[in-house]
């Protein structure tokens, strides 16, 4: 092949420069005035407390990043302010469906973030896939979302519910507890945890002595507790949402019944709410999954660590953050990292950026590790017990061994 003549070479260089200039101009023209992040929150209904916490965390992140001039968007090579477009779904899946649709088709948001929990996320998953949008899923951890590879879903701030109970099951096996009672809400979030737990226990030859679901709206546990007590369990594990946990723990404290081990989920996420309703004494010796900020991650690779976030949130919002505040803030961080890594401003590139940061990023919630199905496999929850300390109580991590801050009090003493 002969070398091009100087004239041809100059022509090619000129053409190349012209093309590059056009591309840069096109990029600059396409850069939006702000990055629209569409999300929903619930001001009322059973998910309101958790949803509002998550939303406050996201707002906190947006305010902080906008103070710095906005989020760096690699696709446009500049900082752009973020704008949160949010609607109130009132904890209703039917309202949420309409509003997710509105965010996608009318508001044409750039980034779609789901509301709290599996129930309100469930309606967003198919909608996002239908519109070829990546759904940033902060706390929807139901196993059914993550059954096949997808480019349109990323669980960012909570482990998939299928992995939650693995440390709990291992702890039960380690403690040589043989008689286990499992009571779970008949929804994907709780039922998938019960399923995983039973699978792990079965491998150790443990078959639950009581294993029943209850409606998600269940609020009276007195007769259920009596039925459970008739099976003489050594451990009673209740998987429910916060209102279920409150009703369960109050029912237990009023019933006069006592079990050597009692586990519920939400004291580890919404300790203030549960303590306010159940009372500190009734919570003593209860086991739970402790979550940030109750457990802290010091070494992070992106954003503030847990302790710094707690200080900053307290200063800005004049209150202690809970796990959902951390989850909302973490969601913002992941969106931020996604935008500063995506070479193009497309949903496909956003997804690729999430996959690229997976396994290499640690935030205030721990290691970020999303698989091809969109499930979060990092950010593991240990097992902790609430034990009395002076006039109050403290959370002691009892499993796994490398994270333990104390030994469990088992069997729990009668108070």
């Amino acid at each position: 092949m002969s070398a091009p003549s100087p004239k041809t070479f100059l022509r090619r260089v000129a053409a190349g420069l012209a093309l590059s200039a056009t591309a840069v101009a096109a990029h600059a023209a396409a850069a939006p005035a702000d990055i629209k992040i569409g999300t929903l929150y619930a001001s009322s209904g059973p998910f309101a407390v958790a949803s509002q916490g998550q939303y406050e965390g996201l707002q906190f992140w947006a305010a902080a990043i906008n103070k710095e001039g906005g989020v760096f968007v690699k696709a446009f090579n500049k900082k752009i302010p973020v704008k949160i477009v949010a609607y109130d779904d009132q904890s209703s899946t039917s309202t949420a469906t309409t509003l997710y649709n509105q965010l996608i088709t009318q508001d044409k948001v750039d980034v779609l973030v789901a509301d709290f929990g599996s129930v309100l996320t469930s309606v967003a998953v198919p909608l996002a896939a239908e519109h070829h949008m990546l759904l940033i899923d902060p706390t929807g951890s139901g196993a059914n979302f993550f059954t096949k590879p997808t480019d349109y879903l990323a669980d960012v701030s909570i482990p998939s519910s299928t992995v939650w109970p693995i440390p709990l099951a291992n702890y039960i096996i380690q403690q040589k507890i043989k008689r286990v009672a499992i009571l779970y809400g008949a929804n994907d979030f709780d039922a998938s945890q019960a399923t995983t737990l039973k699978e792990v226990l079965a491998k150790a030859g443990i078959k639950p002595v009581y294993d029943h679901g209850v409606p998600t709206t269940e609020s009276n546990y007195t007769v259920l507790l009596h039925t459970i007590a008739a099976t003489h369990p050594d451990a009673v594990l209740e998987f429910g949402y916060a209102p279920n946990d409150i009703a369960f723990l109050r029912g237990l404290s009023q019933s006069g019944l006592h079990f050597p081990m009692t586990f519920t989920i939400f004291p580890g996420q919404l300790l203030g709410l549960i303590t306010k309703n159940v009372g500190a004494k009734a919570l003593n010796y209860t086991y739970t999954y402790p979550t940030p900020p109750l457990v802290k991650y010091e070494k992070v690779t992106y954003g503030m660590n847990t302790a710094d976030f707690v200080k900053a949130f307290q200063a800005a919002n004049k209150k202690e953050p809970n796990f959902l505040d951390c989850a909302g803030y973490n969601t913002g961080l992941i969106v931020q990292h996604m935008l500063d890594m995506s070479p193009q401003f497309t949903q496909k590139d956003f997804h690729q950026a999430i996959m690229d940061m997976s396994g290499k990023t640690t935030t205030l919630l721990g290691a970020f590790d999303v698989n091809a199905n969109g499930a979060q496999l990092g950010q593991p929850f240990p097992v902790a017990q609430i034990v009395p300390e002076g006039a109050g109580s403290k959370m002691v991590v009892v499993y796994p061994q490398d994270k333990a801050t104390g030994k469990a009090v088992y069997p729990a003493p009668q108070q």
Partner: protein, 293 residues
């Protein structure tokens, strides 16, 4: 066998309480032929009254009972005169009341969220006794007995009102035929207004015990309580307040038996019972009694 006994006694106590939950709705329908779809929200307001009384002012939550009665009068009389006579002059009061009270219910829920927040609130366990009381060897929390006792007292008071007072006779006359009651000189509006306030007061009293039976109260509970009340009322007999007692007992027993033996399906109980009763006996279990009153 022990589980069955526990479920039956628990079902009776729970059912008596739910008779009180539903009876106000039935009283208002029986007298005015309007469906108070805000009934559940009034129950929730009763629960918040007890919460205020106990957590804010430091009194026993039972003081929520007189507070609910006073609040029912303060809210009920103006509300009655503002909407009910107009509804009854319309061509289709039942359907219009359905829409109007649905709106009132949503407003009350929104106001409750604004006033108290969306989170769960509970009442101090020890206020009604932190122990258990046993019958036939089956123990239930003290608060269940208090709830059942107050419910029984309220139902007996309503029965005495119907059967021993002139106003009660007038109320029953209006329930049998509004036009004939008017023709006999009964002050239908005054008696109806009183029944309306009584219906709200009964809802408020039920609300005082709600956080003990359901663990906590939050503003969103209203719609579910209205639906459950509606099922209980229809099971007993729509328009016959005392039929609600039967509806409540059937609901309580059904729910507790289902919780004991097949817990996943326990929330279907009121609706399955409703369906069965409507198919077999469309007038409700005490439907005949309505006609004989």
């Amino acid at each position: 066998m022990e589980l069955l006994e526990y479920a039956i006694i628990g079902g009776i106590l729970y059912g008596i309480f739910f008779s009180l939950v539903g009876i106000g709705l039935n009283l208002i329908f029986g007298v005015m032929r309007i469906i108070n779809l805000a009934h559940g929200q009034f129950i929730v307001l009763g629960a918040y009254a007890a919460w205020l009384v106990s957590r804010h002012f430091g009194f026993n939550p039972l003081w929520g009972v007189p507070v609910s009665i006073v609040a029912a009068a303060v809210i009920g009389f103006p509300l009655y005169y503002a909407v009910v006579p107009r509804l009854q002059r319309s061509g289709d009061p039942e359907m219009l009341s359905f829409i109007l009270f649905f709106g009132i219910g949503q407003m009350l829920e929104a106001l409750t969220v604004l006033g108290f927040g969306a989170d769960q609130r509970s009442l101090p366990s020890e206020a009604l006794g932190a122990g258990n009381i046993g019958v036939l060897g089956q123990e239930f929390p003290d608060s269940w007995w208090w709830a059942a006792a107050f419910s029984m007292a309220a139902i007996v008071a309503l029965w005495l009102y119907f059967t021993r007072t002139k106003l009660g006779y007038a109320t029953r006359a209006i329930m049998a035929s509004r036009d004939e009651a008017l023709a006999t000189g009964i002050s239908v509006n005054k008696v109806s207004a009183l029944a309306f306030v009584a219906g709200l007061a009964l809802a408020g009293i039920a609300g005082v015990f709600l956080p003990y039976l359901l663990g906590s109260v939050s503003p969103d509970l209203g719609d579910g309580l209205t639906t459950t009340s509606f099922a209980i009322v229809i099971i007993g007999s729509l328009g016959n307040p005392l039929g609600t007692v039967i509806g409540g007992l059937v609901f309580g027993l059904g729910t507790m038996l289902m919780q004991t033996y097949y817990s996943s399906w326990s929330n279907l109980v009121p609706y399955v019972l409703l369906l069965v009763i409507v198919l077999i006996r469309p007038t409700g279990l005490l439907g005949k009694a309505v006609r004989s009153v």
